[in-house]
Structure formats: C-alpha cells, structure tokens
Symmetry: C2
DNA sequence: GTCTATAAACAGATAGAC
DNA sequence: GTCTATCTGTTTATAGAC
C-alpha cells in the first residue's frame, strides 16, 4: 500500500493541517469552510467529500493530534508500566521534561496542537472524549506511575494525580499563554536560548514538586 | 450619583453578564448578538445602543473582568510593595493560595472569568492588551515581589518571573481543564471537599517551588 | 431607552458537470 | 476526485416607530 503524495490523500491531509491551525487560532465555530478550503488549496466541496462535513473534519483533527502527540510522548513514558527504582523514575521524568517540554514550548507543531486541545477541553463534547481516551488519560496514567514511584506514593492516589496535573498544566500554560509570557519576560520570541531556560525551569519545578510530595518528607 | 437597579444600567450589566458567560463558554465569534440579547432579556438593538456593537461589548467584558479580579486578588497582593521578611512573604502567599485559589477552583464567577481570559490570551488583540495592563501585568509583578522575597532572589529576575507563571498557570489549568480533572480524579464535581483538597495541593506545590528556588539551596 | 423590521453579507450543505 | 452554482438559513448592523 503506497501512499501517493498527491491526489486524494494529499487533499485530505492538507485540509486537516489547515483545519488544525485555524481551529486552534480562532476556534471551530469561527472558521468557515470556505476559508478552510482556501487555506488547503482545495475546494469547498472536498470537505463534504472527505469528511462528510465540518464536524467530521473536526474529529479527524482530534485523531491526528492524538496520534502525533502519543508518538511524541511515547519515548518518555513507554517504560512507565514496568517496575523501576525511584531514582530511575526521577531520571525518566527529567529526560521527558527535557525532550517533551522543549517540544511543547518551542515547536510550531505543539503550538497548533495545544491550542486545538485546550479549545476542545474548554468546550466538552465528543471530541474531548476522544482525546481523553486516545491521549490524555493514558499519558496521565503513565506519568502517575512515574511520579508515584519517584515519591514513594501509590501511582493512583489523589495527591499523585493532582501533582501530575500540576506538572502538565504548567507546560500547557507556558505554551498557551506564550504572548503574555514573552511580554513579561521581555523576550522577542521563544528561540533556542529561551527554550533552554524554560526547560531548566520545568526541571527545577519538577524537582521541587517531587521533594514536596516525597512520602518520607510529609 | 445613585445607580438604578433597573433601566439602562441594568440592561447594560445584564448584557455584560450574559456576554461573559457565553463568550467564555463558546468563544466570542461563536456567540450571536441574538443569543446575547435573549440571555440578557434585552433586545438586539440594545447592544448597538449601549456598546456600539459586538466588539464594544467584548471590551466592556474585559473591563469588568479586570475590575472584579483585581478586587479579588487585592487582599493577597496589596502588601506586596512594602518591604517584608521572607517568612512574611511565604505566609502572605499561602494565605493568598487559600483565599484566591479556592475562589478560582470553586466559584462559578471565576469559572466564567477564566474561560473568557484564556480565550482572549489565545487570540492576542486589543482585548488582551487591556487585560495585561489592567490586571495580569500588575498582579504578576506583585507576586514576583512576594516570591522573590520568599526565596531570597531579586523580584525581577527571569527565574522568579517564570516560577510565578508556573504558580498562576497551574491554578488556571485546574480551572480550565476541570472536566478532565473531574474525570481523572473520579469526582462528580468540585464541591467544598474537593476545593479543600485542591487548595492543599496548591499549598504543597507552593512550598515545593519556594524550596526549589530558595537562593541558598541552588 | 426600548423594540422591530429589514438589509446586505455570510454560513454549511449539496446537486451535478467534468 | 475535483470544482462550481445554488439553496436555505443565519449573521451583524441599522433605520425608524414608539
């Protein structure tokens, strides 16, 4: 099965790329099918043909995001199901922050995905159900295993679950609120130097959180 | 100057209340003026009369949010300009987390404001400029003073600025992503018990962050 | 100030030519 | 598969009655 770089599949992918960007930037309802087709260099009818309509394109975007982010996060969390030592758990999380955190704050791809996801999360519906089951739930669960091991707590305690949300939430915030962050930090953009700095902040925060939740410390 | 509870001012306020809720829930572009007027028990023409049009109502919403949140945050940060001891700074921040954090995660008002703000932040324009100058910038600056004092660092260092964003970001995240949090935590809602728990999480995170950034520790 | 009628532009969906 | 023309409903803005 060879995928052609042009033709139907190319049009389909161009529509998803255009939709992810525009839905993320301005929200699903604010984007017209005409603008989507124009951005994708396709025609209006192609949306109905490939996805059945605008809602179908929205769901296809969610599937694309889930697949791509799952792949991005996999190296950092795939070892999360096997038993490991607390020190190894800490090392895995730091490596994950280094890799995934940098991706989140500096890549254009993550910018688009984060905006799409947060807009769906704010407007619960079938799309967010899909994202939770295919992406958010499993990633969070595996991170809980790592954080629970690192702190000597049960992976599925309420404290660990909430702490992992704190970790994920701050990363998402630095991505979503980047215009505000740039302004306050006096940065023109998030280039390599700024990404390095933010990754170091994430690591410091991670260390602080692990220390604060470590079982024998509380 | 006595404000009438009915008449022009009441209509104006009803429109702002309805707009804040609907803009936050579905986004500015997704809400029609007809629905706004209906929710506010007003007529469509009143939006043009009181605000000049839909964009004017949007700006009025931002002003209302900035004023209300500024008032909510004031008790926690108003002492932030006077010199205080590190221990006093820590105590002020913990008290602020207790008060403001509980307001953020459990009040309906904060839910509406947070959704409105995050949508504007994601779509930079004149509204977010207004919010930054009237609310975000000053609150962040004062929190930097507290956090800088608590950690023995300069209030305007990059590390302190970023750490304060981490603190604010996690609170905003728990509010914005509440549907996801409820699902993962197995909560039916954020009632008093859940709010207590989340506040305790915020406090633990604050302690962890302060410890991680304390000057003599790094 | 409040409310209604209407205008001009826009939306998504679809039938059908190629 | 691609593209266009068109249908039906909805959008914001506005003019004017009360």
């Amino acid at each position: 099965m060879i995928k052609p770089v042009t033709g139907a599949d190319a049009t389909r992918q161009a529509l998803i790329d255009a939709a992810l960007q525009l839905f993320g930037e301005r929200g699903y309802d604010a984007v017209s099918t005409r603008e989507l087709a124009e951005r994708a260099s396709a025609n209006i009818g192609s949306i109905a043909y490939h996805f059945g309509g605008k809602p179908g394109l929205r769901l296809a975007c969610a599937e694309h995001v889930a697949t791509r982010l799952q792949a991005q996060a996999a190296p950092a969390i795939d070892f999360a199901s096997v038993p490991i030592s607390p020190a190894a758990a800490v090392a895995l999380m730091e490596a994950g922050m280094e890799r995934f955190g940098r991706f989140v704050v500096s890549s254009r791809e993550a910018s688009i995905y984060a905006a799409f996801i947060i807009r769906e999360v704010m407007q619960p519906g079938e799309i967010v159900d899909h994202l939770y089951e295919r992406l958010i739930g499993t990633v969070h669960q595996r991170l809980c295993h790592l954080f629970g091991t690192a702190t000597g707590r049960g992976a599925e305690t309420q404290e660990v679950r909430a702490a992992v949300f704190s970790l994920l939430g701050q990363m998402l915030y630095f991505r979503i609120a980047q215009p505000i962050v740039l302004r306050r930090m006096d940065w023109p953009e998030v280039g390599p130097a700024q990404a390095d700095f933010l990754v170091s902040i994430f690591k410091t925060n991670l260390k602080g959180l692990i220390a604060a939740y470590r079982k024998d410390d509380v």
